[in-house]
């Protein structure tokens, strides 16, 4: 099974290589071209009248890391909660692994693991009991060896006999991840996985997500930390006021909407931009001592050497230069503010 591979010890992996490598859960191997999650025309209007989602169409590819971005209250958690069965949809249809989440909920829910945003944990249960509980709840027979690997991988093995209430916030978050992985899901939802989490755990979490992806698990994370999406995701969806305003490969998105800037620190200030340089998108800052070129992320090849050549011909010298590329955050802020 795909997920089991992630938690197999190194020795296991070596000894079983060839025999088991490439063995995937049946749901994961059936038709890899089919999206693992397909959302069509999804609306959600809460009892209070609040329209949380409208007309969401989304396909998640098998085995990808997908980041759902959006400001607080955009509808990210509602979308995830509907796929997991916690919130009822008002309209639309959702398939997980080709199965309807309402009619075939047993199949779809056993494929999906959820790590909620809030630290909802039991208090008096031990770590071991709670992961055992989760595995059973999702219909699987006990498997102490598998659960041990999950706990070890999350650095929870030493804490297995401790009551959850005695653990720190970061440890509780790990417990929630262990619970979500206890039933070997093919799809893992991480709702704001690194909200309020220290740097070390954040790095651990990113490493874990990559490991899971390498074994064929599809990971969908919501975040409003763009850094996280930029670091992790292969594709990005932006949700704003209940609408999915964009779904794009991260690289393509950065190339399409990302801007690059070249800043040249000049030897001596210029009074104005020379007429021969009018063809470039230039601004003069800092009393004429900095020349800033803005260009699209895909035109960098031709742009910079030509500018430098022209400047050389004009006798404009510079003592330093730096370039920067706009982050997903800026792209995101631009996208969202355009729609306000």
């Amino acid at each position: 099974m795909a997920l089991r591979d992630a938690f197999r010890s190194k020795e296991d992996r070596v000894s079983e290589q060839g025999a088991l490598s490439g063995v995937r859960v049946p749901e994961a191997s059936a038709g890899d071209t089919q999206p693992v999650i397909s959302v069509r025309g999804l609306d959600k209007i809460y009892g209070s009248g609040l329209r949380a989602l409208s007309g969401i169409d989304l396909e998640i590819r098998r085995g990808e890391i997908f980041a759902l971005l959006g400001p607080n209250g955009a509808g990210k958690t509602t979308l995830i909660s509907i796929v997991c069965g916690i919130v009822n949809p008002s309209a639309g249809r959702i398939l997980v692994g080709g199965h309807d989440i309402i009619r075939e909920y047993r199949i779809t829910r056993s494929m999906v693991g959820l790590v909620p945003q809030e630290l909802h944990t039991d208090m008096f249960e031990t770590v071991w009991d709670t992961v055992r509980f989760s595995r059973g709840l999702f219909g699987l027979a006990p498997d102490a060896a598998y659960l041990e690997r999950v706990l070890r991988d999350l650095s929870l093995w030493d804490k297995r006999n401790e009551e959850i209430m005695t653990l720190s916030g970061g440890m509780k978050r790990r417990v929630l991840i262990a619970k979500a992985l206890a039933h070997e899901p093919a799809v893992l939802f991480l709702d704001e996985p690194t909200a309020g989490v220290d740097v070390e755990l954040r790095r651990d979490m990113w490493a874990l997500v990559r490991r899971l992806r390498d074994t064929g698990v599809t990971v969908i994370l919501t975040t409003h930390y763009i850094e996280e999406a930029e670091e992790m995701a292969e594709r990005v969806g932006v949700i704003h006021k209940g609408k999915l305003i964009l779904v794009e490969d991260k690289q393509a998105l950065m190339a399409k909407l990302g801007k690059k800037q070249l800043t040249l620190h000049l030897q001596s200030p210029l009074p104005g931009i020379p007429a021969t340089l009018a063809g470039w998108d230039l601004t003069l800052n800092n009393d004429g001592s900095e020349l800033e070129l803005t260009f699209g992320a895909d035109e960098e090849q031709a742009c910079i050497p030509a500018l430098l050549r022209s400047m050389g011909e004009l006798g404009i010298e510079f003592r330093d230069l730096n370039t920067r590329q706009s982050s997903l955050e800026e792209i995101f802020v631009n996208l969202v503010s355009e729609r306000k």
Partner: protein, 258 residues
């Protein structure tokens, strides 16, 4: 897991979780009802009962044993079942239950089953305690056990519904304290309704708890306020009503899903 397979592991996990909770608080779980019952025996059985004649052909002390067991079973079933499902709602851990491949039937079976198990064990423990104070005879032990299980299931089911309905701990206490306890006291736990004046006897017959207690008393002494058939019908009716409400809750997601 396929679309129709019964999730036995899921039922077991919830049942085990609930029974562990019970075991963790074993001392409180057992001591409180037992001590309360002992107090009742001392007050009603020994102090007052000694001055009273026989009721339904048995001593007053023996007469109140079934009623006292029922009183505990009602209270404990309601408390345990309502708390069991209300806690996950309160702490938020219910997300896991709602996202798991468990059906409504499985959830009810596990939560109500666990609460009913505790109540039956407590009922038997109180029977044992009572027999230390006075000779207690059970005329139909098989029926007694069967009926005890039925009543525990009926009230655990009610507790489960209250646990979902309640929006806070105050509401959780509301139904047991304000409805069930008075109905139980007026339902013949400590007296036969034949001892009441005519008009009050008629009023009492509108109290379903009268029928429930009467049936249990029949399994002990072979007589009750109403016939055993009617008692069984009332308890079955309560279970049926509970199942209907639970079905409605899960169909609409009432106070579980938005």
């Amino acid at each position: 897991m396929n679309a129709t397979q019964f999730n036995i592991h899921g039922v077991r996990a919830i049942y085990r979780f609930e029974m562990t909770r019970f075991a963790r608080t074993l001392w409180q779980s057992l001591a409180t009802p037992v001590i309360t019952t002992v107090l009742y025996f001392v007050v009603f059985g020994a102090a007052i009962g000694g001055r009273m004649g026989e009721v339904d052909g048995v001593t007053y002390g023996a007469f109140i044993v079934p009623g006292l067991i029922m009183l505990t079973v009602f209270t404990e079933s309601l408390n345990n079942a309502s708390f069991g499902i209300h806690m996950p709602k309160f702490t938020g851990t219910i997300y896991e239950l709602l996202s798991a491949p468990v059906s409504a039937v499985e959830i009810v079976l596990a939560y109500v089953g666990a609460a009913a198990t505790k109540s039956v064990l407590l009922g038997l423990l109180i029977l044992l305690t009572a027999s230390l104070f006075m000779p207690v005879q059970v005329l139909y032990p098989g029926w007694m056990l069967f009926y005890l299980v039925l009543v525990a299931v009926a009230f655990s089911l009610a507790g489960f519904i209250i646990g979902i309905w309640a929006r806070g701990f105050e509401e959780l206490q509301f139904v047991p304290m304000l409805i069930v306890t008075p109905l139980t006291f007026l339902g013949g736990a400590f007296y036969s309704i034949d001892m009441l004046p005519g008009a009050w006897r008629t009023v009492s017959l509108f109290n379903p708890v009268v029928y429930v207690i009467s049936g249990f008393r029949w399994t002990f002494h072979g007589s009750g306020d109403v016939s055993m058939g009617i008692s069984l019908a009332v308890v079955s009716g309560l279970i049926g009503l509970g199942l209907l409400l639970v079905w409605g809750i899960f169909r609409t997601g009432y106070r579980l899903k938005s």
